[in-house]
Amino acid sequence: MKELIETISYYFHFPFVWYALIVGVLIALTASILGVTLVLKRYSTIGDGLSHVAFGALSVAAIVGLTNEMLLAMPITILAAILLMKSGQNAKIKGDAQLAMISVGAIAIGYLLINIFPTSSNITADVCSTLFGSISILTLSSTEVIICVVLSVVVLLFFILFYNKIFSITFDENFSKATGINTSFYNYLLAIIIAIVIVLAMNLVGSLLISALIVFPALSAMRVFKSFKSVIISSAIISIFSSIFGILSSILFSTPVGPTIVVVDILIFIIFFIVGLFNTQQTKVKV
């Protein structure tokens, strides 16, 4: 135990560990807050689809040789998110099937391009790290950290400033629209925010695992807490905890960062699920 603490404090001498933790916490925080809205609006699959689009965009960025791949991935993912939101509001087109098309298509094209125009000698490792998250969280440059901090602040501001509207629209879109809230404006803003969070989160857990980061904390929180505010706050705390815990354990035990964080999230979900069972039993007895 003493050894473990010493090892951890030793690691804290390195800036890259700090960078990883800062970025990890911010991504976990934004993804979990966003997650509550997405789960409640039944939009959680959009996150999945968009992460595949981001994967395709990153591949293209790598081939073109951009030093900061986010510069290309971000606008493309935002565009895809807006298109999906637009078609989702049009009842004629089946949102689900379209989402599946876009997400699978983007992965296929991305992987194909990487193979045709290889940028490094080890394609498999590259692809694997984009899909499952990589050690790249430990090799973040200070520029990347700054971008992440700025974008996270933007996302958090969006949630704080529009908290009441987001609640109202999530709970009852028709009522919100009828009483004069410009719901499509907020839906598009939300789409942009989803895209930003997803591109950010790719750094941490990779494109296949992003949904876990979005969905698990929200679902865990909803097992135990019953008001919107408490669900938001607790899912943020859960997510931050599992992110810090996951990053530190992955450094200590040399496990891949993304899956480690997700496993912590799963364990927390199981605990909250059990606590939730006891809670409902108690209320049933009381009434």
Binding site: N164, K177, T179, K226, T283
Partner: protein
């Protein structure tokens, strides 16, 4: 004062017209009951008035004061949010969400009005209660409290009593009637013509033929009689 009126209005969806040649007008303080069989377009009319869908032909003229956050609305069913984590207070307060611009928090005054509306609907003490653990009648009263936060002028209710037991139904009708007595205009869709006619002063009947007029005109008209007798 005329609050809301339309002349030869046609409503429907891209798939086709649902009702045409609708003409009616509502003064402030009126209690309008919209009746008619299933699928005749009652909800479609309410949604058109609310601006959720566009009219196919014609327009709905609305008093200026209503356009700016003057409308309260109780939707037909609330299946969507079966599992939604929200307290009663959070939901009722959200009636103010459209009014408060870019302000992230509700004012003290708004919170007090919300509390007052919760009390008025007979739900005092339930502020912190989880919405999803309420009974159907309580849920409807929460949504009615929310609607009261978003308006002091006009309430649109789409079958507010569907799925409620007879006693709770009567309570709901009483609550709505009291609101009307306080001066709020009521537009209510109802399946139960007899109950609707009991409280309303104007009737809009949508069906093969459209009828609009006062309660007495409706009761004396031929197909008003048929409808009421048929409902027996």
């Amino acid at each position: 004062m005329t609050q809301l009126s339309c002349d030869n209005l046609s409503i429907g969806y891209e798939t086709g017209i649902v009702v045409k040649d609708l003409s009616f007008s509502i003064d402030s303080g009126d209690y309008l009951a919209i009746v008619g069989e299933n699928g005749t377009g009652k909800s479609t009319l309410i949604k058109t008035i609310l601006g959720l869908i566009k009219p196919i032909k014609g327009e709905i003229k609305m008093d200026e004061s209503l356009k700016r956050n003057g409308i309260g609305y109780l939707p037909q069913q609330t299946i969507v949010q079966k599992d939604f984590p929200a307290s009663v207070f959070e939901i009722v307060l959200s009636g103010f969400a459209s009014i408060n611009g870019f302000r992230p928090f509700y004012t003290k005054e708004e919170k007090e009005i919300a509390k007052a509306n919760i009390n008025k609907m007979g739900l005092s003490g339930y502020e912190k209660y989880p919405y999803k653990e309420l009974s159907g009648g309580q849920m409807q009263r929460v949504l009615l409290s929310r609607a009261l936060c978003s308006t002091t002028k006009i309430l649109l209710l789409d079958e507010p009593v569907s799925g409620l037991d007879p006693i709770v139904t009567q309570e709901m009708y009483e609550l709505i009637n009291n609101l009307n007595k306080e001066g709020i205009t009521i537009i209510m869709i109802s399946h139960d013509v007899k109950e609707a006619v009991k409280y309303a002063n104007k009737i809009l009947h949508i069906g093969n033929k459209v009828f609009f007029g006062t309660k007495t005109e409706y009761l004396n008209s031929d197909f008003g009689k048929i409808f009421i007798d048929g409902g027996k």
